[in-house]
Amino acid sequence: MTRAVVLVFLVVTSTAQAQSGWKVSFGVSGGPEIARWRFGTTRERVSGLVLGGEAVAARGHLVARLRYGQGRVTNDTAGRDVAEGEALLGYKARPWLTVWVGPHARTFVVPGQSDRRWLFWSGRVSARGTLFPGRVESFVDLWQGVTGSLNRPAESASGGGAEAGLVVRLARHPVWGRLAYRIEQGRATAVGRRETVEAVTLTVGFDR
């Protein structure tokens, strides 16, 4: 599914580039990520580095955003790969406020086992504030899963998250950087599973 979303987004952004009025930006990101599972009385904590990328296309009030990240998180006894991504469609209600909807997914891959994937269709609100006009902005994103599911064990899930940080743009250059802190939690209450992910992400991007 993630590949399909990426493909669709790339088509959209490449089409957008061909038309005037679209603003497109790309970025690569990386940073430490900590994941905690709680399943009954069992608790587990893993951490590792996750690298990723993102693309954003905007025209007028409409915005589309795609993020994808992949890495490996481990602890002393176990390790697993993680892949996560989101594909959001947003509307700029105000210059500083954007409302988003779209899928948000995270998959943990454990060798010898089937993948465990969280999938949420989420509603999200992003607010931005200017510290230095055109140079530095702060932002806060809040999202809440409207519907969600966990594939193993197959259960419905709920969840939400937040992200906040700082965006810095270079003067006279289309390059920007972002430092963000992100925390998300998915809950499958029927089976008593709760999964929390924290990440500090440094992103470097450019606008076209």
Binding site: G129, L131, A164, Q185
Partner: protein
Amino acid sequence: MTRALGLCFMLLAGAAAAPRPAAAQAAAPVLAQGVRAYDDLDLDGAAGLIRRALSMQGTGALTPAEGDRALMYLAATELLRDHADSARAVARRLIVANPRFRPDELVFPPQVLTFYEGVRRATPAVIGRAPADTAIRPGTEALTVRLYASTFHDVTATLARDDGRVLRTLYSGPVGDSLDLHWNGLDSSGTAPPPNGRYAITVTSLDRQRRAVRILRVPLEVTQGRVDTLPHPAPPADSLLLPERQPMGPGLRAFAPAALAGVAIVVLPGVVANGEDASGARFVVGGTVTVAGLVAFFSHHPGRSIPANAAHNRTLRDAWRREDADVARRNAERARGMLGIRAGTPVLLTPEAP
């Protein structure tokens, strides 16, 4: 017979009731007779005729000029009759009535001229002439009273209330032939005209011992006119003034988003992932955002003065103050208004015989 008597009675009654123009001009012919008697050296007759002419009152009385001439002839007559005291009294009366009078050197002998000059020098007196009805703007214009002196002497001129209290001293010093007294219409404070009422300009003639020998009193009636004042200009509107110090607002507006983001980073883990112990990594990001906000806040230099704006505002305020002061000054002038002054007939008083 009876009809003839009645006719005669009516003629006599009509003659008695008819106006007698000759009586109205009686003093002048009598004076002329006296002058002829003087010329004929009939000094006793001349003295009698001239005194008779001077004593006549009413419409047939002598004009001021004729009166001066009559007094001069009478003084000369009395002098030639060896009545020096009487001559001196008559001459003094003439001098007091008209200090500017000078006897005709072609008419009177040197003996008389010398005598008159001696009396004149020994008789300090002034008369004054003021406009009967005038209006002045207090402080900028003035009422002028012209004084004519009989001889060089010291005078003191004051403006006094009707009850005698002195309001202002207008002049104190010597007077020669003439002197202009000026009153600018202001009271003793020099800032406002006196209230409506009766006043008097009093000129006191002093002898060499600085005793008051004569007092000329010119009565005045003062009336203030109605006052219309100009409105004061409004101070510069706030919209025209520029901030003299860097306001806090822009700095706070720059800091607020960072503060909110910083607080969100610290607080939201507890909301989103209740029950989990969030890592300390979030403080790194939260601290970075907050520090960036502080830098943004201080980059606006809140509270720092803006000299250019202060100079601009000072120029506006100074202009307003000048205009306001100008209006205040003009209003003060208007508040003084036009002062109506009506001068009465001067009166000359002699406290004691010199």
